[in-house]
Assembly symmetry: C2
Homo-oligomer: 438 residues x 2
Amino acid sequence: METSTKTNFPLVVIIGAGFGGLEVAKGLADKPVEVLMLDKHNYHVFQPLLYQVATGSLEAESIAFSVRKNFSSQKNFRFRIAEVMGLNAETKTLDTTIGGIKYDYLVIATGSTTNFFGNKQIEKFAMPMKSIPEALNLRYLVLQNLEEAVLLKTREEREPYLNFVLVGAGPTGVELAGALAELRNHVLTKDYPELDKEHMRVYLVDFMPKVLGPFSEQASAKAKDFLVKMGVDVLLNKKVESYDGEVIKFEDGQTIRTRNVIWSAGVMGVIPKGVPEGSIIRGNRIQTDAINRVEGAENIFAIGDVAAVITEETPKGHPGVAQVAIQQGKQVAKNIVHIIKGEPTEPFKYFDKGSLATIGRNKAVADLGKIKFQGFFAWLIWMFVHLVSLLGFRNKIIVFINWIGSYINYNGGTRLIIRRFVRDNVPADARHLPKTES
Amino acid sequence: METSTKTNFPLVVIIGAGFGGLEVAKGLADKPVEVLMLDKHNYHVFQPLLYQVATGSLEAESIAFSVRKNFSSQKNFRFRIAEVMGLNAETKTLDTTIGGIKYDYLVIATGSTTNFFGNKQIEKFAMPMKSIPEALNLRYLVLQNLEEAVLLKTREEREPYLNFVLVGAGPTGVELAGALAELRNHVLTKDYPELDKEHMRVYLVDFMPKVLGPFSEQASAKAKDFLVKMGVDVLLNKKVESYDGEVIKFEDGQTIRTRNVIWSAGVMGVIPKGVPEGSIIRGNRIQTDAINRVEGAENIFAIGDVAAVITEETPKGHPGVAQVAIQQGKQVAKNIVHIIKGEPTEPFKYFDKGSLATIGRNKAVADLGKIKFQGFFAWLIWMFVHLVSLLGFRNKIIVFINWIGSYINYNGGTRLIIRRFVRDNVPADARHLPKTES
């Protein structure tokens, strides 16, 4: 069993190396605690740029950063690759793939995963994009389907391979639609002279009447405008009924033949087993008090996407964005120290820095408080904010070079199928490509 | 069936997008032929830097380059991802995963794969490193075994996870040994404070009495010297008897407990089925005449690692290096044009530009004809030669930045386990890490 070892200080276990988890660990540096972080992966992912990994604009490694390297100079920090199977609040223990762990304080920072709202068929056939392996699968699927399209002779045969349907018009869907539209407009016929640009279609679908739901009306309208000008079919007020891997069907009867459905229509928290059922609310989030403490469990905190700070001022919690996780992580670190020292805790207060979303190579929309603007300048801001937020000097430089490259020359990025994506459910006869990996 | 389509020009089919295949295609630009290239992957790999992908110094994408992108402006070029299952020289057809292909001229440029010399047990448990997926598997295995070692308590338990045995002291083995030694010397305890540097061992084994066999005595001696100074155990005149996934045993009775055996002790040509048996010689190479033509098959050529140009001057063929493949590719392209135009062909003449191998972060050995030198200046030459040879401006810049980063700061590179490597044969109880991918 892993316990507090080197010292007599209490052990703070953090589950998850996302934006929130990192801040907690950082905030506990040089404090009278030991920190043990667990994650399924040995890296932190800069999720806002996942869509660029999916479209091959960036390598996976440049938006990920080694957790061990990040904390290599923090003496009270340990890391383990592990998955948490269960939590026992009474005995203060975790059951994990690397054995039992006894914590003194626990921070659940497990983030969120794709929500298919219980539709098993869609879950089976649509592509999620919430992790690096998922983004890579999507990249390979897109490229494989372009390769397949080349092998087919008629437009009708090619159609399902060249129709891309993105469900969910939040920032992920909008950014991905822009990137795919640019792939169509500027790369497709260079790489695949056999194909016709007009035959590739990008559909962005949402059941709401606007794209970028939580943004200002002005940003939403302009984003839609940018997308339409780039040739994206924006289908609003449209609800998906079914998708069987071949045809996506909407509630109004419309159908689209496609082998590329990307699902970013919702998220839900990832909750370890053993969290009191009573504290789990809509969207699979853990309800907490104003200091991110889980109801009825004095030494368990939840932060970020998996948490909902429910107070009078925030009856629905906060939005599921990086800034909330970061700010909650900082606050929880401070409050754990306060508790240990017997000092009063300070409630979490969210400072909304605003929202940004990019559309294509050189346009973005920005809602920064009362200041709202769209276009090239917003894109510069978007670029700057993302570069400074990215972990690691090397990553910053490499991403910057890639962006400069893409800006000068549309034909940037790496469109390599490194690991073939095999969807178990697609009929074998549709797969012409070699199956070997080596 | 794929045939010559757009024109009445003869169809030249090239199997393989390695160094040789690319040169053939390039040499046929604007010539009265159609070119169809086939490869299992949609990218060319710069194999000399594979070992840096394996050790996490470089991302896979920066040593690979899209075949389609590379030839996007060559009008007479087509590409297909395909695997060749069979060749029928009589009917001039290929049987492939994308259907039949009728060629007029065929260039076999399929390269080589790891040669385990028939030892199935070693093949099952040792790691090869001849492709990007294999290099990534190796990277993940190394990192996973370091993570496993952290979970174990005694030095004895940790030993097999921290012993690295590289079999084959050619350039691959030497360069990998240098890189692993630097990982041990400069990174290990930063990333894994739980581990002891002295407990990680790197063994470089060869059955010959020297490292870098085909290099000059001076280069071999100096390379060994560099390795020993970096803490590599160089074991020469040593033949592997068996490896069962846990213990590697040598013919002299010595054993080493290790879960990390990397096999670069030999290569063999990858020959499509249907090549006349009579023309296949030692090392699974296709014997050709002086213009790289396969004996008895007038319109089939073989180049690079899979070929052996057997003439009086070269009774054993040429060494299996990139320069041979490149020069043969250029010559074959010229000769195909000569044949079509009814002109006399020109025999292949190898111009040996010399050999380079790097050891660690800032040392190399160089045999450039009569000029032989070793050390820092050789490393500068090595770096320059590899950068200019690398395809793609973006790749050059990104690799250069990575190298500068590693030079300034040993702790460079990305040590992320993006796709968990699962060896079917390792007992399940030894694997503590989570099995999920997403």
